[in-house]
Each structure stands twice: as structure tokens, then as C-alpha cells.
């Protein structure tokens, strides 16, 4: 099913009309399901209309799978209802936490990657997959803090999570780049270590230097075009693993639709020229 998807775009309300009119040519659109957790009204009507023409991906930001608690049943039920409504081609979440003891912290928060944490995240991923009756993909977030308490590196953690739960991975190339720069590891080597068979989706996005700390800290800001270094890493990844549905992600400082679509076309062209490797089931 996902093998047919080419490159897609984040869908924002400012671009609803253009998205609806875009050619139905294997492009697709991704939304944060939390932005559609409403009972009715124009937001859902737009999503339904766009879904009638294009495949959709639901990319959650708030299931808080790395919290030391099961996902909120009410939120999971809303996600299940939205999945039933729009039948998304892809469903994904993050290796992070964002809700804790009844408060929502709107960010993708880090945690020490211990074996105990792996067991908790695996249990949470399984709850989500059992509820939705489908595989989800888990994304590597950006990293800013140096942890002393990690027992597992991120790729090992994600690969083991996929092995235990059957979940797929969403590889965010920009997040690898940002984390590697901030914490001093090799982005290319990290990308090369990701198990290609497990990768269901790729994300590309822009970053910028932190306003206070300057170039020593890159922030995964999603408010700028994809950087050249990130495009290079993406090419390297696609050469290795073959084509995967790829999202050009933009959440802030939104340009005209045509400008974003030009970035999407660049990714689509790279995918079209990718070696035709078999895609794992």
C-alpha cells in the first residue's frame, strides 16, 4: 500500500484549497491528528474532501509513548475514530513523551534510553497497534541534551522496538542531522545504521541556529527550507534503502504552497530515480 506513495507535504489550513486541487499523482498529505480532534465542522470537512482525492498520513505528536504510563485511552479512542474516518495510508508517532500526569507539554521530550524504558515504550506501541489494528511507524526526534544515562543508542533502541512490536520506523533525516551536530556524532554513520527494511517513511524539514546560542545549537524548527546537507543525507539514504514515502515537513513561517511543492517535487524526483529495491512487507 505505502509502496505507491511518492513525496508528500504537511497539510496546513492555509493550503487546503491548493491541496484539494493538486494532481492526484501519488503525492500525499500529512496532518497531526490532534489538530482534527474535533466533533465536526469545517476542519474535518476539509480533511474529508482532501482525503477523497489524496492519500493521508496521520502523524501524532501527543500520544506520549515514552511516558512511564499507558497512552490516554480517550486520546487513543479519538485517534482510532479519525483512522476509521480517513483510512490513512500511514500512521506514525514519536520516540518521545509529551503528556505526564494529566498535563500536556507541547514538545517531543527526551528520556534516558534504558532497557526499562524500552520495555515501557514497546508495551505502549503495542497498545496503540492493537487498538488501531495496524502497524504504526515511530520517529526519531531531534536531540539537544547530552544524557549520561543512556544504556542504548537511538538506532539500537528503535531497531529493537521494531523487532519486539512489529512497528515500523519513520526516519527523520533532519532530526539525525540536528542531533548529530548538537551532540557531536556522525550523521551519515547514524543514518547508515538504521535498519532499511523497517523504514516506512522518511521526513525532511528545515532547521535553524538557536536564537540565543547561535550555530552551536541547531533547532529542528520546521520553519525553513530543507538544508543542502540534509538533501545530501537523504540522497545517501535513498540510494541505500530504495524509495520510501517522503514528507517535506513545514509547520511554521509557512511559504506559498508552490514553494513547498517545489521542495516536494525535488524529493519525488529523487525517489523516482531510486533503485527499485524490494520493500519489506
Amino acid at each position: 500500500m505505502t509502496a505507491a506513495l511518492s513525496a508528500g507535504l504537511s497539510l496546513k489550513p492555509a493550503h487546503y484549497a491548493e491541496a484539494l486541487d493538486a494532481p492526484a499523482d501519488a503525492r500525499w498529505f500529512e496532518v497531526h491528528p490532534e489538530n482534527y480532534f474535533v466533533d465536526g465542522g469545517p476542519r474535518l470537512a476539509w480533511l474529508d474532501a482532501i482525503r477523497a482525492r489524496h492519500p493521508l498520513s496521520l502523524h501524532g505528536v501527543a500520544l506520549s509513548l515514552a511516558a512511564d504510563a499507558p497512552p490516554d485511552p480517550a486520546q487513543l479512542a479519538r485517534l482510532a475514530r479519525l483512522c476509521a474516518r480517513v483510512e490513512p495510508a500511514l500512521v506514525s508517532e514519536h520516540l518521545a513523551w509529551s503528556a505526564w500526569r494529566g498535563t500536556y507539554y507541547p514538545d517531543l521530550l527526551p528520556f534516558p534510553r534504558t532497557r526499562a524504558a524500552l520495555a515501557r515504550v514497546a508495551a505502549n506501541v503495542s497498545i496503540v497497534q492493537d487498538t488501531l489494528r495496524r502497524e504504526i511507524a515511530i520517529e526519531n526526534p531531534s536531540h539537544y541534551l547530552a544524557f549520561a544515562g543512556h544504556e542504548l543508542d537511538e538506532v539500537t533502541f528503535l531497531a529493537e522496538l521494531s523487532r519486539r512490536t512489529g512497528c515500523r520506523l519513520l526516519l527523520d533525516v533532519n532530526n539525525v542531522f540536528v542531533g548529530a551536530r548538537n551532540l557531536g556524532y556522525d550523521a551519515g554513520a547514524t543514518l547508515d545504521a538504521f535498519p532499511g527494511d523497517a523504514i516506512a517513511e522518511i521526513h525532511l524539514a528545515g532547521h535553524r541556529a538557536d536564537a540565543a546560542l547561535g550555530a552551536s545549537l541547531l533547532v529542528d524548527s520546521h520553519d525553513a527550507p530543507v538544508a543542502d546537507d540534509v538533501w545530501s543525507l537523504y540522497e545517501r539514504l535513498v540510494r541505500r534503502i530504495g524509495a520510501r514515502p517522503t514528507l517535506v515537513e513545514r509547520d511554521d513561517n509557512l511559504p506559498a504552497y508552490a514553494e513547498l511543492d517545489a521542495e516536494r517535487s525535488r524529493a519525488a524526483a529523487l525517489l523516482a530515480g531510486a533503485p527499485a529495491l524490494p520493500v519489506a512487507a
Binding site: 490532534e34 474535533v38 465536526g40 469545517p42 512511564d68 494529566g102 498535563t103 507541547p106 514538545d107 538557536d210
Partner: protein, 269 residues
């Protein structure tokens, strides 16, 4: 408690601490080490900014009325007192109008909380369940006695607010539309009805009698009881016009309790 839960308790505390430097000593060493890193500010800023941005987006008329800087300062204080609980920020700010009502710097803007309540009404109307609206013709087929006994069920998207003191329709709607002219506003009480009859949120000015009528309908009072409530609010109110105004605005989704036997036979062509 597990190590992960202990970590998350401390990390969460550091995220929203008003003054991180003074909070550091109370944190366990592993989290204090993280919170001392300059990059910890990225998380603190993102968490607060995400919630503040949501309040700015959800209260555009307040933002227009007081300016971005004032609103962001107020919102930042509100986020500390009432951080988001729901993981969707679309409807964040339920407690913001009452926060503004009790916010000392807003003391000379006593109408601001009502403007916030109307922004909130817009948000609720926008995401309310899809329902049909009761067509004005639906009540013309009832005998007067059947209509008096029936209950008009408010539409799921309908919200209304009345102020005895402030021109809240003018203040809210002009700010909502980005208008700057307030010189001609008569400084008297106003009421507003927000509806979403089809795909878009609309609003009209109503008066206290309309609001009293709608309040009675919300309590599942009959049309006769709602009329009593409207007349109690304004004994000179034009009831026929009141009904037409509310029905045309899409304030109701259906009639309940109308006695079917009392329905008039359709007029012969």
C-alpha cells in the same frame, strides 16, 4: 516509583518552573545536570511557546484588542497556572476568560473577559458536531398550542452571551474582523449569538430577551416557558421577530416533544 517516572516528574517540574535557577537545587542530580545545559532552554521555550501560541490563536479578538505583547505576557502567566491538559491545543484556553476577569492588569478593561468568552464561543462552535438546523418552516406547521408545548433544541454549535454593561457585540466582532473604528460604539449592554449553521461560523447581535429565550431552551423548557423568560427579560420584546431571528441564524437543531396530532394538516394547494 520507577526510574523513568521519577525522571519525568523532575523534568516536567523543570520545564514549567518560573525561575529555573532557583528550581535546580530541588531537582534530582541527573535532571539537574540536564537542566543546567544551555540547550534545556529549547525545551522550556518550546513548551511555553506552544501553549502561548495556542492561546494567541484561540483568542484573536483579545489579541487585537490588547496587542500581541500584552496578550503573550498574560498568556505566559496563565500557562503556568493552567497548563494544557488536553493533548489537542485546538480548544486550549477554557479557563482563560475567567483568568482575564481576575487579572489585575486587565482591571481597566472590564469587557475583556467577555470578548475572550466570545472568542471561546467561536472555537467551540467551529469544532462542534455537525447537526442539521431547524428550518423556519418547521414551526409554521404546528398549531399555536403544539408550538407552545414543544421544546426547541439548541444546535450543538450555538453559543450566546449577554452583557448588561458592555457593547460586547461591537467590541468583539470589530476586533475579530480587524476593524479599528470604535468611536461610534454606544456604550450599552449587548448580546451575541454565535452559530455554525453549515460550514462556517457566523454571529449576529441579539438582545437580552433572545439570550433568556435560549437559556430556557437549554434547560429543556417548552417554547411557552422560553417566551415567559424572554418577556421577563424585556416585556416589550417582539416575539415573532425573536423567533424568526433565532431560526434564521440556525440556533436550533430540532423540535422535541411536539405533539404529532396537533400538527396542522398541510394547506391544500
Amino acid at each position: 516509583m520507577t526510574a523513568l517516572a521519577t525522571f519525568q516528574d523532575a523534568f516536567a517540574q523543570a520545564l514549567l518552573a518560573p525561575d529555573l535557577a532557583t528550581a535546580l537545587d530541588a531537582l534530582p542530580p541527573d535532571v539537574a545536570t540536564l537542566a543546567r545545559q544551555p540547550a534545556f532552554a529549547v525545551y522550556r521555550n518550546t513548551v511555553t511557546r506552544g501553549a502561548v501560541d495556542a492561546l494567541c490563536a484561540n483568542f484573536p479578538s483579545v489579541q487585537r484588542a490588547v496587542g500581541d505583547e500584552w496578550l503573550r505576557a498574560a498568556a505566559t502567566l496563565h500557562v503556568r497556572e493552567h497548563p494544557p491538559r488536553a493533548t489537542s491545543l485546538l480548544a486550549y484556553g477554557e479557563a482563560f476568560p475567567s483568568f482575564l476577569a481576575a487579572f489585575p492588569p486587565a482591571a481597566d478593561l472590564p469587557w475583556l473577559a467577555d470578548v475572550a468568552r466570545l472568542d471561546r464561543a467561536w472555537t467551540e462552535a467551529h469544532g462542534a458536531p455537525d447537526q442539521p438546523t431547524l428550518e423556519p418552516a418547521a414551526i409554521t406547521v404546528l398549531t399555536p398550542a403544539a408550538l407552545a408545548a414543544a421544546v426547541l433544541v439548541p444546535h450543538a454549535a450555538a453559543r450566546w452571551l449577554a452583557s448588561h454593561r458592555f457593547p460586547i457585540h461591537a467590541l468583539w466582532s470589530r476586533n475579530r474582523r480587524g476593524e479599528d473604528h470604535f468611536a461610534d460604539v454606544a456604550w450599552t449592554g449587548e448580546a451575541v449569538l454565535v452559530t455554525r449553521p453549515r460550514d462556517a461560523v457566523r454571529w449576529i447581535a441579539i438582545d437580552a430577551a433572545h439570550a433568556a429565550f435560549l437559556d430556557a431552551c437549554t434547560r429543556a423548557g417548552s417554547v411557552a416557558e422560553a417566551i415567559d423568560a424572554a418577556l421577563a427579560a424585556d416585556r416589550n420584546t417582539d416575539l415573532a421577530r425573536l423567533m424568526t431571528t433565532l431560526l434564521d441564524a440556525g440556533a436550533f437543531t430540532r423540535l422535541s416533544g411536539a405533539d404529532e396530532r396537533a400538527v396542522r394538516a398541510p394547506a391544500k394547494p
